[in-house]
């Protein structure tokens, strides 16, 4: 059974490229644009892992992640953003909310490694 990954990002290029990459890596992928769509989907088809942007069109990514975690407390979440966070900041604040933080400049192979680590593959 393939693991289901939910991608939340308001940029279509990122959604498309990441979906293509993860699908070719053997995952089942659902990509949505808004927090509302993401919250609706977790009820219908709960994902095994969530990749979310920080700045969404209709919401703050961290707020949405908090709502998703309320529904799926055990599902790992990767924050994939262009906003550069200091390592100390991540450890002190973000690490309580997300499982991992990756820059959007990270290579796809690095993203896959993090997914595999979080899914225990």
């Amino acid at each position: 059974m393939k693991n289901h990954i939910l991608i939340v990002d308001d940029e279509i290029e990122i959604r498309d490229l990441l979906s293509l990459f993860l699908t070719s890596s053997g995952y089942r992928v659902t990509a949505v644009e808004t927090a509302i769509e993401a919250l609706r989907l977790v009820h219908v088809d709960p994902p095994d892992l969530i990749i979310s942007d920080l700045q969404l069109e209709d919401s703050d990514g961290l707020e949405m992640i908090a709502q998703l975690k309320a529904e799926l407390p055990d599902t790992p979440v990767i924050l994939l953003t262009g906003v550069l966070f200091d390592a100390q900041v991540f450890r002190d604040t973000l690490s309580k909310k997300v499982s991992a933080y990756l820059m959007k400049t990270s290579p796809l192979s690095r993203i896959r490694e993090e997914i595999e680590r979080l899914l225990g593959e």
Binding site: L17, S24, G82, K104, S106, S109
Partner: protein
């Protein structure tokens, strides 16, 4: 374009040609044997006819001799008894003899020597018949005369003995012919047997050779099929390995392509993000080179000064910004600070707009370092007091 054919018609196959040749040879031997056997059977049949014919001739001439004896006997009895029945018996015997003579003549018609002897026999028999007629005629006149005639005829001509000799000679000739034809028939039978057995042996050898040829060909074909199957398997393995290599290479290329596209979009995203941050500032921000030329401005600069970026980029900073304290043309405190890698903060400054009007502001200068080397600086200008009202810079003739 013609496609070369990979299969040959059966007739071009050398093995099939050889097998067909062998079968043709076998058929030829069979036909020859059958023809020779039929010819020998016909000959044997003719020989049997000749044997029958010879036996018939012998029987006829024996019958002639027998009827001559019977006729003689009946004549003598008649002469002694004068009984009409004996006379009739003699007539019947000679009549029968004539019939046998006719048959013998017909049977020996195609054999000159035998026919001559039969004719001789006929002559002698006719003499006996004439004697009989003479004796009967004499008997009717005088019995004693008849006896003398009969005795004289027997004594002078000795016809009966001659007939017997001729018959014996004829029989001996016929028996010789019979022996000769028997020998010929035996030889023909032997020839037939030899022909048949030789033909059978030859056909058996040819069939054996054909079977060996077919077996040899089948073995060669099986070997060729095995070699072909092995070559095919090797080819398939190579194709599979090559396909796998190509598939791996393709997957790697797709992955690399995705990585490149991802890196490209990430760079664009970061650039756009930084641009947005830069543009979002309401203070005037100018990026300068180490030579104090403007390399970049934010939209606030354009809005406040009415100068388009094209009119600002690569122009000296001193054209639009100067520190209030800088009175000497030859001294630029900002350039000195930048060279020394120092920051300037809260410095009073004047910005000149497109209409030449001065705007007072507070200036800060931050050196930009790349690996501990100052490569430029950022000027941040905070307009003091109320911002000037919107002006129509487009109508200004002194727009830089």
């Amino acid at each position: 374009m013609t496609v070369p054919s990979t299969s040959h018609p059966p007739a071009r196959d050398p093995t099939i040609r050889r097998v067909l040749a062998f079968f043709a040879l076998i058929a030829a031997v069979l036909i020859t044997v059958v023809a020779l056997a039929v010819r020998n059977i016909n000959r044997a049949e003719r020989s049997a006819d000749w044997v029958n014919h010879t036996h018939a001739v012998i029987l006829e001439i024996d019958a002639i001799l027998a009827t001559v004896h019977a006729g003689d006997g009946a004549l003598r009895t008649f002469v002694m008894t004068g009984d009409a029945r004996d006379q009739g018996a003699g007539r019947d015997a000679f009549s029968s003899m004539s019939e046998h003579l006719e048959i013998a003549k017909a049977l020996t018609r195609d054999e000159a020597a035998q026919h001559a002897q039969v004719l001789r026999l006929e002559t002698l028999a006719n003499q006996r018949a004439n004697l009989t007629q003479r004796v009967i005629a004499a008997w009717q006149i005088d019995h004693a005369e008849a006896v003398r005639t009969l005795t004289a005829a027997d004594g002078s001509a000795a016809t009966t003995a001659e007939i017997r000799r001729v018959v014996e000679r004829l029989k001996a000739d016929e028996m010789a012919l019979l022996a000769e034809r028997d020998t010929a028939a035996f030889l023909q039978a032997q020839t037939t047997r030899w022909t048949v057995w030789t033909g059978v042996a030859l056909d058996f050898l040819l069939l054996s050779a054909t079977a060996w040829l077919i077996r040899d060909d089948l073995q060669a074909r099986r070997h060729a099929t095995a070699v072909l199957a092995e070559a095919n398997a090797q080819l398939e393995a190579r194709v599979e390995a090559r396909t796998s290599e190509l598939s791996t290479a393709n997957a790697r290329l797709v992955s690399e392509n995705l990585e490149q596209r991802w890196a490209h979009q990430a760079a664009e995203h970061q650039l756009r993000y930084q641009q947005n941050v830069f543009n979002a500032l309401n203070d005037l921000v100018l990026v300068v080179t180490k030579a104090m030329n403007i390399s970049r401005v934010n939209p606030a600069v354009v809005r406040l000064t009415g100068r388009e970026p094209a009119a600002l980029i690569d122009r000296p900073l001193a054209d639009i910004v100067r520190l209030t304290g800088d009175t000497s043309v030859n001294f630029d405190a900002m350039a000195v600070a930048l060279r020394e890698g120092r920051e300037l903060r809260a410095q009073p400054a004047v910005v000149t707009d497109a209409l030449g009007q001065p705007i007072t502001a507070r200036l800060a200068l931050f050196p930009v370092r790349d690996r501990d080397k100052v490569v430029g600086g950022i000027i941040v200008l905070e307009v003091l007091g109320s911002p000037p009202p919107q002006r129509d810079f487009a109508r200004s003739p002194s727009l830089l």
